[in-house]
């Protein structure tokens, strides 16, 4: 009996269940990234506005979100909101809220960086050839910002997928939780399945994130 429980992986529909769990992880990340990109672009533009109040507010938001570990934010939303305001959110919804808040902060900073990196004469040349302010943004600035942002946004996606593993700790049944359930369910028949099951989860995360980060790296190289 030295197979160390690899057969648990293929018993019944265990492997399918793991993949379903992975899909939940990926779905939450995709929703959060999509929302973060939308809000992040607004935040980034807001951060370039020369106004003391917006500057202080956005800076405060950015610093707070970035300094707090994501798990703490999850706890704040999942447990804190329920207790203090009686708002009952499911684990999945609180995860999406937290990751959107976090992603917006990260994305906003990236957008700000991209906006600043575009040199001033781009705006001035645009104005000089008679484009209105909207047109300058529409035809000159935004296309350039987008090409700079794409690899960074993809990088953010892999980080998001990796961080979503934390939601197992607020009780969302995603891939890690499913793995736990499978191991517990087979505790008596196959007591040693943990190595293979957790190994598989490790591998699944890698298989999900690796192609995405390769893509980001290639795009980044192409840009230079």
């Amino acid at each position: 009996m030295q197979d160390l429980g690899i057969r648990v992986l293929f018993m019944g529909n265990n492997f399918e269940r793991l993949l379903e769990g992975l899909w939940i992880t990926i779905r939450i990340s995709i929703i959060a990234v999509a929302l973060s990109i939308v809000f992040g672009i607004f935040l980034g533009m807001l951060m370039t506005v020369k106004n003391l109040v917006t500057k202080v507010l956005t800076k405060f938001y950015l610093e707070f979100i970035r300094i707090m570990p994501q798990l703490v934010l999850l706890f704040l939303v999942f447990f804190g909101l329920t207790k203090s305001f009686g708002i009952n959110l499911s684990g999945e919804v609180s995860a999406i809220i937290v990751f959107t808040l976090w992603g917006t902060a990260e994305m906003g900073d990236l957008v700000r960086g991209a906006l600043i990196s575009i040199s001033k004469h781009q705006y001035e040349s645009g104005a000089a050839i008679g484009l209105t302010k909207c047109q300058v943004y529409r035809y000159v600035i935004i296309p350039q910002v987008c090409t700079r942002l794409v690899p960074l946004a993809i990088n953010l996606t892999t980080r998001m997928i990796k961080t979503t593993s934390l939601i197992a700790l607020i009780g969302v049944v995603e891939v890690l939780k499913v793995a736990q359930q499978i191991i517990e369910a087979n505790r008596y028949t196959v007591p040693d399945s943990a190595l293979w099951i957790y190994g598989t989860v490790f591998f699944l995360y890698f298989v999900t994130c690796w192609p995405v980060s390769l893509l980001a790296k290639r795009l980044e190289k192409k840009m230079r």
Binding site: G5, Q70, K162, L176, V201, F202, Y205, F206
Partner: protein, 219 residues
């Protein structure tokens, strides 16, 4: 808000913060060492080790720490390798951090002008002298912002250590919520504790970065 409760349990948080900070520090130092070793391996292009280092970087950068810890703490004992909670935490943090530090060093080295290396070689420095005296001192100052960001990232990542049964800040907060249902107070203390640990580091990093930018290295 129950202020008495808060005052009563502050010492518990201080203990937990010490643990978080201690393990975080050990993890950071070890990751720096791992990162440097990998940087050297990649710089000198040592045959087999180079491939291993590349695979390690991809593996550690594309998997979450939580999953790594589950594998180390719950998976490996089934194969006969039992590691204590602290051991798992440190190994996990070092496994994760090593690759991030290596990437930071590498980008620093790449940012040093090619002419520097060539001039050193032309002057008769050996390759190890070149990297030791010429490249690394310049690369280090370039990569310091990235290294600081990694340190903050690693300390933040310590928040998942409660899953390997370490009594860190998260663990204490969860415990207090479970025992006394004092959610607000427990969470408030948690947020403050992390702010106290991370905010000074973040400010220090920003100051350091500004100083380095004034120094205008390489430009």
């Amino acid at each position: 808000m129950d202020t008495e409760f808060i005052v009563e349990y502050i010492p518990l948080y201080i203990e937990a913060a010490k643990l978080t900070f201690g393990i975080g520090l050990i993890g950071i130092v070890l990751s720096l060492i791992v990162g440097l070793v990998i940087t050297f391996i990649q710089y000198f292009k040592i045959a087999v080790l180079k491939q291993i280092a590349g695979a390690y970087i991809e593996l550690s950068r594309n998997t979450p720490l939580l999953v790594q810890l589950f594998f180390l703490y719950f998976g490996l004992p089934k194969a006969g390798i039992s590691i204590s909670s602290e051991g798992c935490a440190i190994i996990g943090l070092c496994f994760l951090g090593g690759s991030y530090m290596a990437e930071a060093f590498r980008s620093g080295i790449e940012a040093v002008e090619k002419g520097q290396e060539e001039s050193a070689l032309a002057l008769g420095f050996t390759r190890s002298q070149t990297i030791g005296y010429i490249i690394l001192p310049q690369a280090l100052s370039i990569s310091i912002p990235a290294l600081c960001a990694n340190m903050i990232f690693l300390i933040k990542e310590t928040s998942v250590f409660s899953v390997v049964a370490l009594a860190d800040l998260m663990y204490v907060a969860k415990d207090l919520i479970g025992l006394y249902y004092k959610t607000d107070e427990a969470l408030l203390l948690l947020v403050i504790a992390y702010l106290i640990i991370l905010f000074p580091i973040s400010i220090l990093a920003a100051l350091l970065e500004r100083r380095l930018r004034y120094a205008g290295f390489g430009n």
